[in-house]
Amino acid sequence: MNTRRIDRGLRRAHLALVPMALVALVCYLGATLWSLRISLSSSRSFPVSDFVGLAQYRRLFSNERWLHSLGNLATYGLLFVAACLVIGWLLAILIEREVRIGGALRLVFLYPYAMSFVATGLVWQWMLNPGLGIQEAVRRWGFSEFRFDWLVDQDHALYTIVIATVWQASGLVMTILLAGMRGIDADIWRAARIDAVPAWRLHLWVIAPMLAAPFATATLLLLTGVAKLYDAVVAMTQGGPGTASEVPTKFIMDHLFGRANIALASAGAAVLVLSALIVMMPLFYARARSNRRNA
């Protein structure tokens, strides 16, 4: 009788996973395979079933803009993840220590995460515009030589994207790390206080290593954001000045529609996803191992 119930339960469990199976296999796996197939064809706006080998990939890697976009993404990803982790961590420490005021300020650091760049892109563009924004305001205060024109500067435009996206995401990192700190054994804090360990040493050498798992989670979340970076660029610089802040997703999007070359776009997508996986694999692996150890 018991076995029959288990059988029925299992059947239901399988049934319950049908939507997920459909999404995973038809949508994600299907779309990935479809894109791979397209990337080996000479399709323009519409799929063509011929086979041109790796011609699109060769074209892709002789395309200046694509190479530049990949380089930009690497620079951006490094700066963005590092800045978010550092700022999020510092905020978490400050709030942990100043709990009364910090608690009230938590939402102030988290609110940018609620807004999209379709909405906030304009204000960022405006604040960073040398003629209208921060530079102009500071000059009006009397510092007539003040310069902050990164948005229109070939060599610095990418950093403005970093600033705006760090503003958006570091509150989330803070929240995750705060949650991690709450979970740390009270004895450790007590021992640190009795030994009069300075706060910075405590956090750097004792607490931070214990936060490895939350740090890994935060990094993973940030990295998914890096691969998908699009909105902020379109809203703030449109990839400019020139091609200074172009990113792969924008290249893909442009070629999917406006430039009617879905084969090249698909090749770009395949390269992007593959690079994302290569970056993620070690992280996934480390997390899985530490999970198994903990279990």
């Binding site: 200046e64 040398p130 003629g131 948005l151 020139g242 406006g258 430039r259 070359n261």
Partner: protein, 410 residues
């Protein structure tokens, strides 16, 4: 819950509209004309359609690439609008090849399109003897605009008639502390400046060899090299705030007399008019340099996706003839800043820049296609990438030449 919400909310209107008897033809029209002047111009098309007995359902999406992306995915997704705007170019060629568009042969024959449409537009809408798109506007993207007040302030006496004179004027403006060239640093605007230099300095011959024949020898030639360095030289006359600026914000600099020149399409006239500025009095328009400067034609055209419904087909045919009608074209052009697509319209009521454009168009040898007439969207985009890169960075001219050859012969 959903049904309740639906009752209370605007979607009720949509439901009601669908339920209404389908007596009047009804056409959803997808376009990217969202700015004030553009919207006013679209309204004349909608009015003309209504007068012809149809209902215009407006879907405006800001940004032409964005709008075309939506049009394309909706056509592929079985949710096509009755009409969608494209540039009269190769942009919709694949839709034709796939059999996704209806033909407008009857409308074209009735109106005699072969006789009244300019050649480059005909070549875009007529494929294998069939007509697939209804043109609505002719723009000339490479006008040179100037603020009379700014030029006077800088001591520029007469409007330039050559690049040498243009550079002299730009120098004077710079010396007077004004912005010599108002420019929006976006790839497509950089591209327009380049086309202006290529057509006016390089000449018709070189223009055709580069864009139509994609001739590597022409692109590697010393003349082409000079075009590229002149283009780059113009960059030294733009202000620091130029990158990323919208075209109309650049025009606003001319309107407020803070800048001297702008190289841009005739759609800027809508901006001037909404600021109550008049051509000839407040601003001037130079179509090009020399007595044989070309009129580069950049047209907009509506395509009509094929559907299974006979009612939709009827609505589409009606729309195609309503928007190309003589009176409609005149009213539309006045607001849009374009010139009528047909040669049989009395344009004496249009402004002097439009009349100047029409008079140039009369001479068939001065009509010249846009680069998109011959280049695929992909080649065109690759060219734009190279040019905007060159405009913004220090690159050797020969490198740029090589890259253009590679991009166009790819």
């Amino acid at each position: 819950m959903l049904a309740l919400l639906c009752l209370a909310l605007p979607c009720a209107a949509a439901v009601a509209a669908q339920a209404a008897p389908a007596a009047r033809p009804r056409a959803e029209v997808l376009h990217w004309w969202t700015s004030g002047g553009e919207a006013a111009a679209v309204r004349t098309l909608a009015d003309a359609y209504r007068a012809a007995g149809g209902d215009w359902v407006d879907t405006a999406i800001a940004g032409n690439e964005q709008a075309r992306a939506v049009a394309l995915s909706r056509i592929v997704g079985n949710d096509a609008p009755a009409a969608a705007l494209f540039n009269a170019s190769r942009q919709f060629r694949e839709l034709i090849d796939q059999g996704l568009l209806i033909t407008l042969d009857d409308v074209a024959q009735r109106e005699g399109w072969d006789a009244i449409l300019p050649e480059p537009i005909l070549n875009a809408v007529r494929v294998n003897g069939h007509y697939y798109a209804a043109p609505v506007s002719l723009h000339m993207p490479t006008w040179i605009w100037y603020s009379k007040v700014a030029l006077r302030k800088a001591g520029v006496e007469k409007e330039p008639t050559s690049f040498a004179e243009l550079f002299l004027a730009l120098d004077k403006l710079k010396a007077a502390g004004l912005i010599p060239l108002a420019h929006g640093g976006q790839a497509w605007q950089d591209n327009i400046v380049f086309r202006a230099v290529l057509a006016n300095l390089g000449g018709r011959e070189l223009y055709l060899k580069a864009f139509r024949d994609r001739d590597p020898a022409a692109i590697a030639s010393p003349q082409f090299r000079e075009v590229l360095s002149t283009f780059k030289r113009l960059h030294s006359y733009v202000d620091a705030g130029s990158p990323g600026r919208n075209w109309n914000d650049a025009t606003a600099l001319l309107i407020s007399n803070r800048a001297g020149f702008q190289i841009m399409g005739d759609w800027v006239k809508a901006e001037f008019s909404s600021a109550s500025k008049l051509p000839g009095r407040d601003y001037g328009c130079i179509p090009g340099f020399g007595a044989h400067s070309p009129y580069i034609i950049q047209g907009d055209a509506f395509v009509f996706p094929r559907s299974t419904s006979a009612a939709t087909l009827r609505a589409q045919k009606l729309l195609a003839s309503a928007i190309t009608g003589r009176a409609t074209q005149l009213a539309f052009s006045a607001l849009k800043g374009s010139i009528p697509i047909r040669a049989d319209v009395d344009v004496s009521t249009l402004d002097q820049c439009a009349r100047l454009g029409v008079s140039i168009m009369k001479d068939r040898s001065r009509q010249l296609g846009n680069d998109e007439t011959w280049l695929t969207p992909d080649q065109n985009g690759a060219l734009a990438d190279i040019l905007t890169d060159y405009w913004n960075r220090d690159l050797a001219v020969s490198t740029v030449q090589q890259r253009i050859v590679a991009a166009l012969t790819d």
